[in-house]
Subunit: 416 residues, 2 copies
Amino acid sequence: MQSTQLKINFQRLKADILALAEIGKSSDDRGIYRMAFTDADMQARAWLESRIVDGGLEYASDGAANQFGKLGASDDRPSILMGSHIDSVPAAGHLDGTLGVLTALECLRTMREAGSRTKYGLEMIAFSDEEGRFGGLLGSESLAGEITPERIHNAVDLSGVTLIDAMKAHGLNAMDALQARRSPESIRSYLELHIEQGPVLDRLGHQVGVVEHITGLFKWSIRLIGNANHAGTTPMNMRRDAFHGLAEFSGEIPRILEEHGGDNSVATIGRVDLFPGTANTVPGRVEFSLDCRDTSEEVLEALGGAFRRALSAIARRRDLMFEFDVLSQVRSVACDEMIVQTVADAAEALGLRSHRMPSGAVHDAQIMARVAPMGMIFVPSKDGRSHNPAEWTHWEDIEAGANLALQTLLKLSEAE
Amino acid sequence: MQSTQLKINFQRLKADILALAEIGKSSDDRGIYRMAFTDADMQARAWLESRIVDGGLEYASDGAANQFGKLGASDDRPSILMGSHIDSVPAAGHLDGTLGVLTALECLRTMREAGSRTKYGLEMIAFSDEEGRFGGLLGSESLAGEITPERIHNAVDLSGVTLIDAMKAHGLNAMDALQARRSPESIRSYLELHIEQGPVLDRLGHQVGVVEHITGLFKWSIRLIGNANHAGTTPMNMRRDAFHGLAEFSGEIPRILEEHGGDNSVATIGRVDLFPGTANTVPGRVEFSLDCRDTSEEVLEALGGAFRRALSAIARRRDLMFEFDVLSQVRSVACDEMIVQTVADAAEALGLRSHRMPSGAVHDAQIMARVAPMGMIFVPSKDGRSHNPAEWTHWEDIEAGANLALQTLLKLSEAE
């Protein structure tokens, strides 16, 4: 019964969140700029190291510059890992991965202070470059042993700076990431707390989300090709208007999701380019993106088939040409059932309003699932805002989420 | 009966078309570059002057650098004007306005050689900058007295060259365009032959088009504003996707044209910009153009109202904001009924397959209608191609159109 009474020190967690939010903050309220291996990121790493040490945890880092704070971890027994990342997108808010790292830190500090005796070691972790200055998920992929020399050599940011040079500037050797692999036997399980980055918990009034799956996705670039004609001289019935084909397809997406999708299927047309793209010319060609996500590989396959059939039929009917390229394809990942149940039971014991849900966004947890049983906890994002200075989670929800993480860690580590 | 037997000299017309096609021709088959007041345009003007003089016509030019070839024109009696322009868009074909100018030249040469005695004078004309290097329709607007000092001062091409400097480089004073006005009393009527720039005649197998109206148009820039969200984390029923609003509107255009439009109504969405415009974000905002044309002002007004109602309803239903700006609005112009009938009768007498139709494109004729009864003759554009090196009209159709123009001129000038 001791475990359900143990609580994190919320004021300390809040102070940490506010302190880290100052590092990389723009002077004119445009948000936080703490992209991987920038000066701000390095300053945040130094700050985190000192907080880990001050919290009485054992500090460590690996070849991928992932940072660890360990409690009772040893080579003799596997560890429970909990963490996320402290790097940010440009113009970010103060939460995102940061909340997961600082919550993990707070949980381990609390357990250390309470003298919790656990069957498994505990390690908090801050992964390098989750957000993608150099491609993203660098730290977790290195730890999972999925990094390659080619990937490291070719990694370059939007300004043309290479990963190798960016790390070298701070005395780090990017090639050391190849040594960051941890054996699966050394990891008992992985837990990550993250803001939802979507509107569901906020809209439904839930305090925490128990993640069951991280969705898979496919992203296509689609072209419909007709004929560019003069908008004044070409009668409607003599046109091969590529945009009309796209508009019809867009209108069919709800039907296709209803007929072939699951409860959490989503599909988005986010990018559209018309050619020639002038007001007085019938568009002869349109290129657009289709991003489709679901937690089930079978559902994704069925949706992909239905989209192709719809596009082919529209193209035939409208005398257009239809082509598409697969831009990316990511398999869905299931959270470990035992961890999901542990989180859900702990939420109930704490009297929290919880909601079982998928994650539609990419997380380090997706990579970690390849080497260890994985679970995730969500806290609400006000209005679903994310990657945005206006990102917000109520402090009470942060406190609830952190205590849920603590109870889950106690259970997973089989604390006495 | 003499008049229906008189024919233009087709080989001479063809030779002129081929000769002028060499002036401004790119060395690598990218088409003709004869934009107004470029060296190529000036070279073409010099060539045209010599052809006018060689043809036994009286050469003249006015303050707007419009070029004339006169036959029996005098201050005592009004003239029938026939012409078009020899300037081109970049990467143009060999016909467009050129065909109308050279056909007018050929008709007058033929009438001079035949010794036709006419009640009215005849003038062929090549208008300056129809295509718009400096805004377009410069010559016809000057002749119609609709040019202003401001317009001349502000006219500038895409490279930043002013009209004033471009004309000065060739010894011309742009301000002289203010003196180019012709009194309406001096113009009995205006006739223009042009390629259709659309697919109708080619598709229907007609040799010539008898233009009844030049369509009016409105061009709007429309914004639908919703909410930009993460494409992975935002369930379909929590989205305010601006593109879905546009797609639904696009799907309603055929219904709106059927319910509120006429036989020749057209509407085009030619430009679409999504914001933020990335594959993994639900589009929070879309800006797009709507170009709508018809020959009737009442129909255009009804269509504008129906489009606004549809957009408002879609915006309400989808919780989007709807705004629009009017980018341009051009009134439709009717061809003179007597001239239309004259052309149609002449086509019948020549045994040509003719088709009454609107012009959906802008022409100098539109401006000339403000000062004189106006008529237009179309010849087919292969596949509707226009403003394109692949622009093509069969030589037999050019011959048929030129002979129709000749018979029309003979009738309009009341040749004995």
